[in-house]
């Protein structure tokens, strides 16, 4: 169960405002990456976000660059999930690969209000908040396997280990 407050933004939240390009080849380490999260969109975010908080976006969330820090800066700040009307494809992959739940649920993305308390039940595929109860479609098998493994790196590690054992 993921529980936290909603941080709501609009359509086309791009990777430049999620994590500015000027830091992308120098920022290393969780703390430094976390400190620049949403710097150009919501300067209050990084200092005030709490574990389990949920980002709510509109259409095409995460469009733009392939930079993975656009997703990891949220993970390193403890964000529990991103709910959006739709996601840009590379951001979606980056989120899932880093164990960050990315939920496509247009109804919830539209209804949930800023700073509202949100709870997400992945098993039941439901999102609840003062604005209502919403169901989201099942994740694909591929995506579920990556999330269950704890992200892409963990999944690949496991595969490599079992290949070594097999040989």
């Amino acid at each position: 169960m993921i529980r936290g407050r909603a941080w709501k933004y609009g359509d086309n939240v791009n990777t430049d405002v999620l994590f500015p390009g000027k830091y992308t080849y120098t920022a290393r380490g969780r703390d430094e990456i976390a400190s620049h999260a949403l710097e150009d969109l919501d300067p209050a975010f990084a200092a005030n976000v709490c574990d389990g908080d949920v980002i709510v976006g509109g259409r095409n969330f995460g469009c733009g660059s392939s930079r993975e820090q656009a997703a990891t800066c949220l993970v390193y700040n403890g964000v529990g999930a991103v709910i959006a009307q739709s996601f840009a494809r590379i951001f979606y992959r980056n989120a899932i690969n880093n164990g960050l739940l990315a939920i496509v649920c247009p109804e919830a993305a539209q209804a949930i209000q800023q700073q509202e308390h949100v709870s997400i039940d992945l098993e039941r595929r439901t999102i609840e908040s003062a604005s209502g109860r919403f169901e989201f479609p099942p994740l694909s098998v591929t995506v579920r396997e990556i999330l269950e493994a704890g992200g892409l790196v963990a999944q690949v590690k496991r595969r490599l280990a079992s290949a070594r054992t097999a040989s």
Binding site: N12, D16, V17, Y25, N60, R67, E68, L152
Partner: protein, 458 residues
């Protein structure tokens, strides 16, 4: 109002329901997955032919080290270009480059391109490291660029590149395809960039989300290779996964010449016939009756110079609507529009003219080869005489690292691909996107201007 006879979901006439016909994406991903055929929506494990990374390579190496391997499994498929912040603007950037060079040396990566060689997509094209029908996965969002040569190019994340180095394999979902037809040659003054901005403006920055965009029609056939690159490259801003233009005689000549150059440099044997056979055998074409999620038809005669206004790429306007906007900075470059054709257009406008007082023009060629040819043809001399500043081939100020970041309150007109708030380093600046000709004309006028007006004023 400005959408042209779109016929969404009009794939029907030719054969929705015709089970056997395949799109380019189906054929390319079947090949990359080692399968007879794959279906739209299916998730397949592919083995790409090329895996590209750039200044992000050191960060990818950190992830890859978690796998505990001493050697990457695909050194011959890897291509690494230093391009995003070159030459290094700070000590930290320099450290990053130094780590990448060490890694390249350790792993024996042959396809490594140093500071000054150019932008990954341009360099890999010039080196013919990708052939038609191949799959290129890159830790760069503009990897759909390789659609220009009829290859499947898609952007991926850093962890995914690390996984590819370790296993050679990655999952991809076989995308739906959108077909875009251009009926005839673009009129003078209208470029592939204008068409791309128009498409994105018409259907939104997410209009091509997850899709493979296939271009066709005599208007696309009439385009130069440089223009095709601009068009395919810009589909990243349409949300597309990949793009595709059918390889033809122009494509083959370009690639054959590139293979020949590389063979000569690497002192490898190979006749013109060998190269030509390699390129031809690699090609893939969609079936006539393939099913498309949508078909959009554009009439070249109805297109006009188009500008993308702050702060989203799909916020487009006809040039005439924004002409007169005062600009402090003009920038020509990037993987979208930093090629010879682009610099030629700028030089033609700037020849014998001066950049307006209060405005500066930065020109950053997409590669060293573009720079050399532009010098040989006198374009660089014309640009410098007009007052332009020429930068080291690479991405330049596109993403706000260096080499021409705007001051707060300034307006930039740029031939790049993104005008997001903060893109060039500060949220307090505005970026307009346009074709290189419009950027050059605007530099002369000191305000957004139509090249046709500037040329007439002489």
């Amino acid at each position: 109002m400005n959408r042209q006879s779109p016929s969404q979901g009009s794939a029907g006439q030719a054969g929705r329901g015709s089970n056997s016909a395949q799109t380019f994406a189906q054929k390319a991903l079947a090949r990359a997955a080692g399968r007879e055929r794959v279906e739209v929506g299916e998730v397949v494990d592919v083995r790409p032919d090329v895996v590209l990374s750039h200044d992000n390579t050191a960060a990818i190496r950190e992830i890859w080290r978690e796998f505990g391997q001493s050697q990457v499994v695909i050194p011959e498929k890897m291509a690494i270009t230093l391009d995003h912040a070159v030459p290094a603007p700070t000590t930290r950037h320099a450290q990053n480059h130094a780590e990448i060079r060490r890694f390249v040396q350790e792993q024996g990566i042959r396809n490594f391109f140093e500071v000054g060689r150019g932008i990954c997509h341009q360099v890999l094209s010039e080196e013919a490291l990708a052939l038609p029908g191949q799959t290129i996965l890159g830790a760069d969002s503009h990897t759909p660029h390789f659609g220009w040569l009829g290859a499947f190019g898609a952007g991926i994340g850093r962890s995914e590149v690390a996984a590819l180095w370790a296993t050679g394999e990655l999952w991809l979902r076989v995308p739906e395809s959108i077909r875009i037809e251009l009926d005839s040659e673009l009129p003078k003054g209208v470029t592939a960039k204008d068409l791309a901005l128009r498409i994105i403006g018409d259907w939104g920055a997410d209009g091509g989300l997850y899709a493979s965009v296939e271009f066709s029609g005599s208007g696309v056939e009439a385009m130069s290779i440089d223009s095709r690159m601009a068009l395919a490259n810009m589909m990243a801003e349409f949300g597309a996964k990949s793009s595709y233009i059918s390889p033809d005689g122009k494509t083959r000549s370009y690639l054959e010449a590139a293979l020949e150059r590389r063979a000569a440099r690497e002192k490898k044997a190979g006749t013109a016939e060998d190269f030509s056979l390699r390129v031809a055998e690699s090609q893939l074409f969609p079936d006539e009756a393939a099913a498309y999620a949508a078909t959009y038809r554009y009439s070249a005669g109805k297109l006009e110079p188009t500008v993308s206004c702050p702060h989203t790429v799909d916020n487009v306007a006809p040039l005439s609507a924004v002409a007169g906007t005062v600009v402090q900075q003009a920038f020509i470059g990037t993987c979208t529009n930093g090629r010879l054709e682009d610099i030629a257009e700028a030089a033609e406008i700037l020849q014998g003219r001066q950049i307006a007082a209060g405005t500066r023009l930065l020109v950053v060629p997409a590669s060293s080869m573009v720079l050399q040819e532009a010098m040989q043809r006198g374009y660089i001399q014309a640009l410098v005489a007009a007052g332009a500043a020429i930068g080291t081939p690479g991405c330049g100020p596109c993403m706000g690292n260096h080499m021409g970041v705007p001051a707060t309150g300034e307006v930039t007109i740029s031939s790049a691909n993104r005008n997001f708030r903060g893109r060039m380093g500060t949220t307090e600046a505005e970026i307009y996107l346009a074709s290189p000709a419009v950027v050059a004309a605007s530099a002369v006028a000191g305000r957004i201007a139509d090249p046709r007006d500037v040329v007439q004023e002489k």
